[in-house]
Symmetry: C2
Subunit: 329 residues, 2 copies
């Protein structure tokens, strides 16, 4: 009798320019057995995120699936905290079954929110927005927060946290439907489509008539350039991502160094990896906001692990709308 | 009998491009009488500093002398803290006699150092280096500090503070003589001439083989670009000045926004104006370093207020070496 098998998406070729399906292949591997302290998870959902793009520039990652966060049910456990059937969150890979250290896995409560939410609004994308603003944003009521890629999984949480904290919130997104969602559903005070706006600097100025106190930056490139020109005295630039730069050479973004002095600007890059230990605090606070209707979210769930490569490419073309999650079951 | 007169350098024309003598004219005005609370100072020394360049872009400043810090002796006082002959420091103007509020003047102790030192190593240029590193540099022993315009009035103090605090210190300057002074007199670990180095990025890398933990930035432009590429994980960029950008349009400096994330960089602009209240603490600490021979300084004292415009222009051409002070007496 052959052992049970599970499918994986192996990374086989570094992309030159935009990532395409030819960088991946589907393979089948034997379902692993856990060693002491390990847990085998039958993944239900796999998170696909822009940050993964950098892993595709690293030849060391060739020949196996890229790492990715997963939510699923324990199918075999040799760790005392986990039993078969438990819903868990872990760093797995682009695969149907993941073998992980129990110490690095975490139970999720599917009574609070659907399991997929632990990869979106209650997951690391939500934590990214929350921890970035908390540690580096110094939000003050009445100030103006600007969020680029504001309809994205991270940006949409950042903007809503700004509203919850009493700030004026403006942002940009890449389609009119996304802009409408920001204004009509999420309560942004202003928003515009950065792909169809001829003068980005003027568009940011219209959206933020008093200037920007906090920029939560997800895009980089020319969008950032326009934002930078609208920063206020004492402004904080929290650099979370630079999606416009991931698939090409970085463009000159012309931050006038003298502006840093004249406006006392602070610019800080961060990664949610430095704040992973805060996930429980975040889930506790965000669960309350969800319950009270203060925090809304949108997911795009793509069924079938074989569709992960094409779905991943849509993160960079701007076609994706809402947190991208693969239903691998 | 005509009232006594004193000379001033009036700002009469905004410069287009590099500043020249035609932006100024020498005039004579009556020596003022102090009102209640005021003090009249017979200036001995006037500080000329790069930051003044921005005042020349402002038409509101036309028709009178530019503001500048002075050290001199009280010649008339209607403030209880000051008597005739007292040596004081104040914000005056490009003039032989200044009328100031006594509350904004401060005694200086010419037993500790010559009066001119209160415009250089014990003045606001020293305070700039000290407060910038203290508040925004987070210096740690064994780290690497890079200082651009390192032989300048601010940079030379910044570099020496780095050495006093146990850091490796590297820097660049614009002449071989300045580089030699950094290495032979100030104890820099590495230094190079940025005007004669063909590959700035490689030169910074040679000077800082482990990368840069703290950049004390005074130059901007292509020097900053090279420094930025050599920043280490967790690096702090303290933006003090951008002298390369004061007389022309800012150049694109291409800071790759992704580097802010990957290296968790922090970049902060500051002004010594926010730290003026710390001057007493600075003078106390720096006086000790001077006494112990740990802090060296160099002044270029130009005699005659009529020579201020030409001397000021030399700040931007790179010809000046050491803190530029005008002896106006």
């Amino acid at each position: 009798m052959s052992s049970p098998e599970a499918r994986q998406i192996s990374f086989i070729k570094r992309p030159e320019g935009p990532v395409g399906a030819d960088s991946f292949e589907i393979i089948s591997t034997a379902v692993p057995e856990p060693a002491t302290g390990q847990v085998v998870i039958r993944n239900r959902y796999l998170s696909l995120d822009p940050y993964m793009r950098s892993a595709l520039n690293n030849a060391d990652n060739l020949g196996r699936p890229i790492e990715g966060r997963v939510v699923g049910q324990v199918m075999a456990s040799r760790h005392p905290d986990f039993r078969d059937g438990d819903w868990v969150f872990a760093m797995g890979r682009w695969e149907q079954v993941s073998l992980v250290d129990g110490a690095a896995a975490r139970h999720v409560n599917t009574n609070i929110a659907p399991a997929s939410a632990y990869l979106s609004v209650l997951g690391f994308t939500g934590l990214t927005a929350w921890s970035g603003l908390r540690h580096y944003g110094a939000l003050r009521e009445g100030e103006t927060l600007f969020v680029s890629a504001a309809s994205g999984a991270v940006g949409s949480v950042a903007g809503q946290i700004g509203k919850i904290k009493g700030l004026r919130v403006a942002g940009c997104a890449g389609t009119d439907a996304k802009v409408a969602w920001l204004l009509d559903e999420l309560g942004f005070d202003a928003a515009f489509n950065h792909r169809t706006t001829p003068d980005l600097t003027a568009a940011v100025a219209r959206a933020c008539p008093d200037g920007i106190d906090i920029d939560f930056e997800n895009v980089g490139g020319m969008v950032f350039d326009a934002v930078f020109r609208n920063m206020r005295y004492g402004g904080r630039i929290v650099v979370c991502g630079a999606i416009s730069q991931y698939e090409r050479e970085p463009r000159p973004c012309v931050p006038n160094i003298s502006d840093f002095i004249n406006k006392r600007l602070n610019m800080r890059g961060f990664s949610v990896r430095d704040h992973a230990a805060e996930i429980k605090d975040y889930i506790e606070e965000a669960s309350g906001w969800l319950r009270d209707g203060k925090l809304k979210y949108r997911e795009t769930i793509v069924t079938g692990i074989e569709n992960a490569p094409a779905a991943f490419a849509r993160l960079f073309s701007g076609e994706n709308f809402g947190k991208l999650v693969i239903d691998v079951a």
